[in-house]
């Protein structure tokens, strides 16, 4: 931990600023930080550069992808979009649809619950909050066997919402919504002054109007964060999607792309990489654009 010693020394401004520039002193103050930075930049970006280069490589194999950026072409992108056995466009659309509806639905359900916990006092309120905290401890993932059997039973009676149905999958995700989101939103709702509600109530607004037209607008930042986090976690989900969706055209990107390269040595690696780049670009763009809010949201749950 020698490094940290120096850091704090620097930060406190022990080193007088006006002294002739020498390489040694520059290195001791900030230069070594750049070295660490460069190492970390290489470590964090080389897999990403690798996948980008592989996607631009027209020929498919894993070995062929090792010479970075030796060939540039968009053949792999054309291939991934035109392979009937791997309906990439359908996966992409499914993922957007399923994750989008899940994000909207869970943020709505969570907001309703958080509003009632934050603004109303009723019997069983504390029990309800405790239950939600406890339910949070047990992710849906653990009940996957039961969920699968439940959905196949439902599918025997109502094929539209049972096994192999995207609506069914969305409903399962919504089942996890309350447990994951309510608490985060509850904390944020509490920071909105209750006097605003009261003023509106005196002016004759109904509870629904207060909720939809006033409160929801004031908590917009947390709604954005929660829906984005829910979107990302739904996109990343493999377990439930792989168990509940059977037909290739109904599957999501996580399941489809996994099946595509379940044995990387024999897969069309460039086509996979092209698919990965196409899938990742919008997510990464959104993430970098909203990073400030996301980081805020991630820490909000803990820092009270």
């Amino acid at each position: 931990m020698k490094t940290t010693t120096r850091t704090t020394a620097e930060a406190t401004g022990f080193v007088p600023v006006k002294r002739p520039f020498t390489l040694k002193r520059w290195f001791a103050s900030t230069g070594w930080r750049h070295v660490v930075g460069l190492v970390m930049v290489v470590f964090s970006t080389f897999p990403l550069l690798y996948v980008l280069s592989a996607s631009l490589n027209p020929h498919g194999t894993l070995t062929g992808s090792n010479a970075l950026f030796s060939k540039i072409g968009f053949d792999a992108y054309v291939r991934i979009l035109n392979t009937p056995e791997a309906p990439y466009a359908a996966w992409f659309g499914n993922t957007l649809m399923i994750a989008g509806i899940t994000a909207l639905g869970s943020v709505f359900l969570g907001a309703l619950a958080a509003y009632s916990f934050s603004r109303m006092r009723f019997t069983g309120r504390r029990t309800g909050l405790l239950t939600i905290v406890l339910v949070q401890m047990f992710p849906q993932l653990l009940g996957v066997v039961a969920i699968f059997l439940l959905m196949s039973t439902i599918g025997d009676i109502f094929p539209a919402i049972g096994l192999n149905s995207q609506i069914g999958l969305i409903m399962v995700y919504l089942g996890g919504a309350l447990g994951v989101n309510t608490f985060l939103m509850y904390g944020f709702f509490n920071t909105i002054p209750a006097s605003i509600d009261e003023a509106a109530k005196i002016d004759g607004a109904s509870h629904a109007r207060i909720f939809f037209t006033i409160i929801l607008r004031l908590v917009a930042p947390i709604l954005a964060v929660v829906s984005l986090l829910s979107f990302i976690s739904t996109t990343n989900d493999f377990v439930l999607a792989s168990v509940l969706l059977v037909d290739p055209e109904k599957q999501t990107l996580a399941v489809g792309l996994y099946r595509l390269v379940s044995n990387p040595n024999y897969a069309d690696w460039s086509a996979f990489s092209a698919g990965a780049v196409l899938a990742a670009l919008p997510v990464m763009a959104l993430f970098l654009y909203l990073q400030k809010y996301i980081v805020g949201g991630l820490t909000a749950g803990s820092v009270k």
Partner: protein, 538 residues
């Protein structure tokens, strides 16, 4: 900042009767016509769907579910149409989903853990009997020819049968033939029945596979055989080579003469111990747990997987946190140029979808063709993902790559929120920079970061994607009698036992799930005790 305190609550709590009445009138007066309309339309939709569901459930004779759906629908209508009950109005939608797909799922998991539910045991005894008998069906050599019409009702195919005497009956895979009196008969053959849609020739051709697989029981007694149709026009009687004796509960194979009897283990078993599959689902009590803890082939992997799960989650949190903290300190220097660039470059791994990262790394770490071996190590053949210990190392390395940006962001935020004065005061008092860090900054940092470390531990405890997509849990443990490998964690073991391989053992997988539940519960109780997090919940 006005957070509702307990005092406010106490003051608000008991409005008198007139106040309540006034509130109700105000509430009613303020609700606009549009809002009421929207409410009625939404509830109407819900009720219409519920009504449809009730109708289907009624037709299928699912009485328990029928009762539940009816009760929930009535309660929902009562909540939304009666005045007041505001908390219920806001909580009901989420709670319904929560109860069905999370709380019920937990309970159902517990139930399955006590059954022998698996590939060969997935239905009840009657269905197992009919499945066994229909799998051994052989055409009766002198069977009469039955003229049939294939008909459809809500997606289920049935056969409309005219027997040689001209009597008309109808039946499907699940329902034995029953007389029908109101069928339309043309040229001595029934062609349509009320409530059913007759399939046209094209439909028959399109659904040939489904139709040729049909076996309609001739009567309630499975020993009477079934009707099957090879072409959708004529059907013949098929008899099973198995004879079922319901009284004695035995199956006799008429070909070999072996008698299989129900020994109470969920399958017909011959005297020399050979079980006929499919069997049926029975309650096996603690058998799955006993197997998990005593069967050498399961206990060994279960113990090693549990240890590895804790080890994996612990090391992952520690390594990502230490690297993240180190980087946060390094880049928390205002004099440094280009900090923004480094920051963006370093959070890229976090922004890249996690499941894709694992797949990309799996390709890069491939033994014979991967980038790491071929390019970085000049053609070495290092078994990164197929050697037990290297696979564990690779997983930790990739998880470090995936997780350090998050810890970096969190630690940066926490460091910046520590007031500068503390440090100045300590320096004035003569504390060394290292002491300032260790005694002041680190404790303050840990206060705000500790809950996130616990959350990160919980996340990695169930980090299925990374394990399954990078190594698939492998390399496989050759001594284990279940499909488990060296890098499997508990959740991926549950998934593999339940959903991959030849036999899907739902019962055992659920028993594992329950074991995880208990582990998680114990850890949670301890951490709640320690942090007292639940006490200031209000």
């Amino acid at each position: 900042m006005s957070i509702i305190t307990d005092e406010d609550v106490a003051n608000e709590e008991k409005p008198n009767r007139r106040q309540r009445q006034a509130a109700r009138i105000a509430e009613a007066a303020s609700a606009g016509l549009k809002a009421i309309l929207v409410k009625i339309i939404l509830l109407g939709l819900v009720d219409a769907i519920a009504l449809y569901a009730l109708f289907v459930l009624f037709a299928k004779g699912q009485w328990i579910v029928f009762g539940l759906v009816l009760a929930v629908t009535l309660i929902v209508n009562w909540i939304y149409f009666s005045p007041g009950k505001l908390p219920a109005k806001y909580l009901t939608p989420g709670v319904i989903f929560l109860v069905i797909f999370q709380i019920f799922a937990v309970g159902y998991t517990a139930y399955i853990g006590f059954t022998n539910y698996s590939t060969g045991h997935n239905s009840d005894k009657d269905q197992a009997v009919s499945a066994l008998m229909s799998s051994a069906l052989e055409r009766v050599p002198d069977s009469p020819t039955y003229a049939v019409t294939v008909v459809d009702r809500v997606g289920t195919l049935s056969l409309l049968v005219t027997d040689p005497d001209g009597d008309v009956s109808i039946g499907s895979n699940d329902e034995p033939l029953q007389r029908v009196s109101d069928a339309t008969v043309e040229g001595g053959k029934a062609v349509a029945a009320a409530g059913y849609t007759s399939l046209s020739f094209q439909d028959v051709v399109a659904r040939t596979d489904e139709i040729t697989k049909m076996a309609v029981p001739y009567s309630e007694d499975p020993n009477d055989g079934s009707l099957r149709t090879p072409d959708g026009r004529n059907a013949y009687l098929y008899l099973s080579t198995l004879v079922y004796d319901e009284q004695a509960g035995t199956m006799t194979n008429t070909g070999t003469g072996v008698v299989y009897s129900d020994t109470g283990e969920g399958a017909f078993t011959s005297p020399d111990g050979e079980a006929m599959l499919p069997g049926w689902r029975i309650n096996v009590g603690f058998d799955n747990f006993v197997r998990a803890f005593t069967d050498e082939g399961i206990r060994g992997p279960l113990v090693s997987v549990t240890i590895w799960t804790f080890f994996f989650a612990g090391i992952s949190v520690a390594s990502t946190f230490l690297l993240g903290l180190f980087l946060a300190i390094v880049f928390n220097d205002l004099r440094m140029k280009g900090r923004k660039f480094y920051r963006v470059a370093m959070i890229l791994p976090y922004a890249f979808p996690a499941f894709l990262s694992a797949l990309v790394w799996a390709g890069m770490l491939s033994e014979s063709f991967g980038f790491i071996n071929q390019v970085l190590l000049g053609g070495a053949q290092i078994p990164w993902l197929t050697n037990e210990w290297l696979a564990k190392f690779s997983i930790l390395l990739v998880n470090l790559w995936l997780g350090f940006p998050y810890m970096f962001l969190v630690c940066t935020g926490a460091l910046q929120s520590i007031p500068e004065e503390l440090q100045e005061a300590a320096t004035v008092d003569g504390a060394s920079p290292w002491a300032v860090f260790r005694l002041i900054k680190l404790p303050l940092l840990l206060v705000s970061v500790a809950p996130l470390l616990i959350a990160s531990f919980a996340f990695n405890f169930n980090n299925f994607n990374l394990i399954y997509m990078l190594t698939g849990g492998g390399p496989r443990d050759a001594e284990a009698s279940v499909n488990v490998g060296a890098t499997d964690i508990l959740i991926s073991m549950v998934y593999k036992v339940a959903f991959t391989g030849q036999t899907r053992d739902y019962g055992l997988a659920s028993a594992f799930s329950i074991i995880i539940f208990i582990l998680v519960a114990v850890i949670s109780i301890i951490s709640f005790r320690k942090t007292k997090a639940l006490e200031d919940l209000n």
